[in-house]
Amino acid sequence: MAVEIFNPNPTVFAPVKPSKSSKAASLWLTDADDTDANAENTNDAPEPIDQEEIFDLIRSIYDPEHPNTLEELRVVSAPQITVDGNRVNVEFTPTVPHCGMSTLIGLSIRVRLLRALPNRFKIDISLKPGSHQSEMAVNKQLNDKERVAAALENPALLQTVEQTLANAYRRGEPAED
């Protein structure tokens, strides 16, 4: 049970539509069920990891305080992610400037990306400039390898992080009924 709720009533936004890989319209009309198979076989061009894909990875992480996803609360959004070669920069916006959960949210994002992105990437996670009272401290904490590793040694903390990641696999798709 959270002792203190930092923002009891945050604004909920409509989710952005789940991103779809844009397909060039083929000349022949195909049935919906066999398009995937065709696309798989015919197109051999590599598809590099991009902003959308990383956003998909983190959009359905739960906020530690609310039963809403980070996307619904506009904590993360696609334009706030940049990919440049092997560097990834993820910027996020806490719902209130005094949000004490910011570090935890950042940690969840980091854990998710550590697990879901190849090792070659260097991941930077930062608060949106000017969005938080102790922006520098949080940024420093989130990008300090040692401190992140130490935090993940803490079983209680790790469990909280796992809870926020429970539905991360949905990638913005709504829950099935």
């Binding site: 009891p8 009533n9 945050p10 604004t11 909920v12 936004f13 409509a14 539509k17 890989s21 060039a24 319209a25 000349l27 022949w28 009309l29 049935d31 198979a37 798989e40 076989n41 590599p46 598809e47 990891i49 894909e53 990875l57 609310h66 039963p67 809403n68 609360l73 697990r115 879901a116 992105l117 190849p118 090792n119 070659r120 796992e162 990641l165 991360a168 696999y169």
Partner: protein, 1059 residues
């Protein structure tokens, strides 16, 4: 006389003595006979010394013997007097600690003849039994006795009032064993409901509320199988049995709900929901505020969604309880009013997260009483509408409309609920729906919302709710909605928002299921207009995408008969124009466009056939003839309709229509006529008979003038038409296509037409001639299917044909090594289809044919083909189905699989001949991929090693099917998990290897890796975890996005996998 009775006494004494020593069952049976014959006295007399013995053990045994005997006697053997004496005797024995158990047993077994006797005994039971000193099983008999008394002598016990209730409470106090509690709770409920328990409420509450909430957790392997839910339900029924509990219960409920774990919270909420109606509105009203505050917490800050749901339904019960008396009043006071105002207050900020639970509460109110529902709507709807209209709240409009649409859906459900709840006769089903007073304003807001892109989807949800509310909207209003929505749809297509257009199509489908005319008269013309008349140029991607969206919309919408009729009317001339347009600068474009139009019709037809629409059959004269005409004319004269893909889709349409032709007499002439036409048309060059004369005149013949499209002289395009022959033949009813019947009448009707009268010759001719000249795979496939179909439907007339296949065909075409490999493979396919046709109807010849395949397993040319044929044979396909009027026996594939599996398995295990073993393994994997996994689940222990070996076969197709089989086994068969654990580490290594290979196998291997942790114990796979995580990180960098996605999910699963 006296000597016989003395003899009897002696024998009884003997009986008793031997039993005391040996405890044999026969002695009891003998004693039961004695008592049944009226010699109870003798038995008691013989027992005398034991019943009063000084030795504890003997006394116990004596009473036990008597109790057992009495228990086994038929109910009517004992007289009233003896029951009374026995009862008194057993009661006496209750104060003796040694005889209490048999004494209770005796009392329990006494037939309940006279109530007075038992009533007298009750006090002595209470007086002598000291529950706390007794073990569980004895206490259980005490409860059982009281339970029995209550069942049989309820009136007497009721008369005893406090004399019964008070001692019982003392007796039941402090009971802890769940088995006894189940009985005790049952007794308590009866006392509470039927007895005058008013003055004992507090004492009774003491022996009941101390158990609430139940925290009992059954021990593992509990032999009694009592779950905590059993206890919960029984206790709940006690707590809700008397209204007097109310004042005691509510503070307890409030305490438990605030402090409990989620499980206790749910239990408390469910108990509350069950109790409130019993405790009554007065009490609920007094405590409404406190209860609402507690429940509110569970809704606005829910622990989990299940608890939230329970809390909402408890709120509903509370509101119904409070307001049940003023159900029809217009003015609502009390909780509903306060809570409603509170929620509307929260709704002032519709975009905030608390608005969602608030609207849930309001929706719950909608499902309570009609007056509360009306009150809620009367307050919430104007509030939301005002917010919507407020220019300062424009950014929140989406949220407002979403909330509004939730409310609309709740209003719809509540009106349906009220109708189904009340008697359909008494209440007028035409009663205005609750939303009726606000209809115009709501509709106005939604229509204006739908016009703006940002709010469109929310507004569409609201409109769908409105439209699906019965008796709410008038026909004109529906028309208005369709008109407005069309405008939005057009904008969607122009600006390419396909997600919105899906929501629009859903709304339009809802409308067209109510009244299709609006969609037909407004939406369809607009969609038709946006379709180009001729194909769009290749480089105009935007317009082509738009066109595809329009086609998708048409395919989705045109299901209802009037809409489909409009579609066919519109498309037919377009199709003709495209098919025979003079310009042929880019034939592929034309063909693709033609194919697209036909595909839309096909898609609609598939849906219609699934829903068994009756209008489909009516298109036999128009659509089918036109399509035949179109394709034949193109084959003869050229044009885009020659394209095989176009012919394919035309074939599917023809097949679907023919499937739906009704069998019985009325239209069967159509059917027979069709059958008459098909064979001469394709086999004897009378093709014009089948086609609409607009395209093909009687003079049109195949290139060879008199002969059929399967002969050598026919062109490729003409032979491609074989697909259409298949389309017509395959779904034909066997009776209609029976050639004997057919031939005679054909000869009469078309005297010049000469076809083979004998079906054997006919099938042979199709097969031999067709295959001899087939110049692509699709033609050959059509021939296989036709043969399979004819075999299946007419096997009784096909004796010579099958005989020839068994002998000459088998040895010349399949076994013979002189034939070319291609020819032998083709023959194997033919063989496969013959087997299939026979097997589907469980024909005795089927197995003989199938077993022949084993003979060629060693053949290096066709061995693998023969092995793979096992999969094709058992696979269910779209050809030999009930819909296509094939003879299909129930569970044919399962029966086949059960029969053939042992042979394949032993073949795959036998390593004396590696070629044979390999072929068996291939056949095995091919077979189990296509059969339902229940039919091989029991063999899984032995199959696993074989499947593991099959994974080594360097054939991507086989590997993929093995992984698919393994996946199906993991997800659907719990029983195989032990077997799996044995092979899991090896499987993990294998799968990790595949993640580095290429093609689709990477995805299936990753999927398999991600399901394993769920079904294999952690200690088994612990050694692999580090490897898996390391190797999956390579897959995270796969060039394909879909592979990376699976890799991320699989790796996440493995991260969480721990002991």
């Amino acid at each position: 006389m006296s000597s016989t009775s003395a003899l009897a006494t002696n024998s009884v004494e003997q009986l008793v003595t031997t039993w005391i020593v040996s405890g044999r069952d026969e002695d009891i049976a003998a004693a039961v006979t004695e008592v049944s014959e009226g010699r109870l006295l003798a038995v008691v007399k013989a027992l005398g010394p034991y019943l009063t013995s000084e030795q504890d053990e003997l006394r116990t045994k004596g009473v036990d013997f008597l109790a057992t005997v009495i228990g086994r006697c038929p109910a009517n053997t004992l007289s009233r007097q003896s029951v009374k004496v026995l009862a008194a005797f057993f009661c006496d024995k209750l104060d003796d600690t040694e005889t209490i158990i048999p004494g209770l047993k005796g009392l329990l077994s006494l037939p309940s003849i006279c109530s007075s006797v038992d009533a007298e005994n009750v006090p002595s039971v209470f007086a002598h039994v000291r529950m706390r000193a007794l073990v569980q099983s004895v206490r259980f008999s005490v409860f059982s006795i009281i339970d029995g008394l209550i069942t049989h002598h309820r009136e007497t016990l009721k008369g005893m009032k406090s004399e019964f209730i008070r001692p019982y409470i003392n007796l039941a106090e402090g009971e802890k064993d769940p088995r006894n509690l189940l009985v005790a709770f049952g007794i308590a409920r009866v006392i509470l409901i039927e007895f005058d328990a008013g003055e004992h409420i507090e004492a009774l509450s003491n022996i009941l509320f101390c158990y609430f909430p139940i925290t009992f957790r059954p021990p593992p392997n509990d032999p009694y199988g009592i779950t905590s839910d059993d206890l919960r339900v029984v206790l709940r029924r006690c707590l809700s049995a008397h209204s007097g509990f109310g004042p005691i219960a509510i503070p307890i409920f409030l305490e438990k709900i605030a402090a409990g774990s989620p499980q206790i919270k749910r239990d408390t909420l469910q108990t509350m929901a069950e109790c409130f109606p019993v405790y009554g509105p007065a009490l609920a009203r007094i405590n409404a505020r406190k209860l609402w505050n507690a429940l509110k917490l569970e809704i606005f800050q829910p622990t989990d969604s299940l608890t939230e749901e329970e809390a909402l339904s408890t709120v509903r019960v509370l509101v119904v309880t409070i307001h049940s008396e003023d159900a029809q009043d217009e003015d609502v006071q009390g909780l509903a009013r306060d809570a409603c105002e509170e929620c509307i207050g929260i709704l002032r900020e519709p975009e905030k997260s608390q608005a969602k639970p608030a609207i849930k509460v309001l929706c719950t109110f909608m499902a309570s009483t009609p007056s509360v529902a009306r009150y809620t709507l009367a307050n919430a709807v104007p509030h939301l509408l005002k917010l919507f209209a407020d220019p300062r709240e424009v950014p929140a409009r989406t949220s407002v409309l979403l909330l509004l649409s939730d409310l609309i859906a709740a209003a719809r459900n509540s009106s349906q609920m009220h109708i189904t709840e009340s008697m359909p006769e008494t209440s007028s089903p035409l009663a205005a729906p609750p939303l009726a007073p606000f209809k115009d304003e709501v509709l106005g807001a939604l229509i204006s919302g739908v016009a703006t892109l940002a709010t469109a989807r929310a507004a569409l949800a609201g409109l769908t709710g409105l439209v699906s509310t019965p008796h709410l909207l008038s026909d004109a209003e529906l028309g208005f909605i369709v008109l407005k929505v069309n405008e939005v749809l057009e904008k969607c297509y122009d600006e390419d928002h396909s997600d919105d257009s899906n929501a629009i199509l859903k709304l339009l489908m809802t409308i067209s299921s109510l009244s299709p005319m609006h969609v037909r008269d407004q939406t369809l013309p607009f969609l038709f207009k946006s379709l180009p008349l001729s194909p769009l140029p290749r480089d105009n991607l935007v317009a082509r995408t738009r066109c595809q969206h329009v086609l998708t919309a048409l395919g989705t919408l045109c299901g209802p008969p009037p809409l489909f009729a409009a579609l066919v009317t519109e498309f037919s001339p377009r199709i003709v124009t495209i098919a025979f347009s003079p310009s042929d600068d880019d034939p592929e474009l034309l063909a693709a466009f033609l194919h697209a139009l036909l595909s839309v019709m096909k898609r609609v037809l598939v849906g219609k056939v699934d829903d068994s629409h009756d209008d489909v059959a009516g298109y036999i004269d128009t659509l089918v003839q036109a399509l035949y005409g179109l394709c034949v004319r193109a084959a003869l004269q050229g044009g885009p309709a020659r394209e095989p893909r176009v012919i394919d889709v035309a074939g599917v349409i023809i097949g679907l229509v023919v499937q739906r032709l009704p069998l019985p007499f009325v239209l069967s002439c159509v059917l027979i006529a069709l059958a008459h036409l098909l064979f001469p048309a394709f086999l004897s060059g009378k093709i014009s008979l089948l086609c609409s004369d607009e395209h093909v005149t009687a003079e049109d013949r195949f290139a060879t003038q008199t002969s059929s499209c399967i002969q050598a002289e026919a062109t490729t395009h003409e032979r491609n038409l074989f697909v259409l022959f298949e389309a017509g033949i395959v779904p034909l009813e066997p009776k209609a296509s029976s050639l004997k019947h057919l031939a005679s009448s054909t000869l009469i009707c078309y005297s010049k037409v000469i076809i083979d009268v004998d079906i054997n010759t006919c099938a042979e001719c199709i097969l031999v001639q067709g295959l001899a000249h087939a110049d692509n795979a699709r033609q050959a496939e059509a021939i296989f299917r036709i043969v399979g179909c004819i075999v299946n439907k007419h096997v009784e007339n096909l004796g010579p044909f099958l005989e020839h296949k068994k002998t000459a065909y088998w040895s010349e075409e399949i076994m013979s090594r002189t034939a070319t490999p291609g020819r032998r493979r083709q023959a194997t396919r033919v063989w496969t289809w013959i087997c299939k046709g026979l097997l589907v109807r469980n024909h005795p010849l089927a197995l003989e044919f199938i077993h022949r395949l084993f003979d060629v397993f060693e053949d290096e040319t066709i061995g693998t083909d023969a092995a793979k044929a096992f999969g094709d044979i058992a696979e269910s396909d779209g050809v030999l189905t009930k819909r296509n009027s094939a003879v299909v026996k129930f569970l044919w594939a399962q029966k086949f699989a059960t029969g053939i599996l042992p042979r394949l398995m032993s073949g795959a295990k036998d390593d004396s001949n590696s070629v044979l073993q390999h072929a068996n393994l291939v056949a095995l994997t091919a077979l189990i991929k296509v059969i339902p996994n229940t039919s091989y689940a029991h063999e899984m222990t032995q199959l696993m090693p074989l499947l593991m070996r099959a994974l080594q076969i360097p054939d991507a197709e086989i590997r993929a099917s093995v992984i698919e089989t393994l996946l199906a086994a993991v997800t659907q068969q719990k029983s195989t998990h032990d077997v799996l654990a044995e092979h899991a580490p090896a499987l993990v290594r294998q799968m990790l290897g595949y993640t580095k290979s290429s093609g689709a196998i990477r995805i299936s291997a990753l999927r398999y890796l991600s399901v394993l942790p769920a079904v294999v114990r952690y200690d088994v796979l612990h050694p692999c975890k580090a490897d898996v995580l390391r190797e999956l990180s390579e897959a995270l960098d796969d060039p394909k996005r879909s592979v990376r996605r699976e890799a991320v999910d699989a790796r996440e699963v493995w991260f969480k996998y721990s002991g």
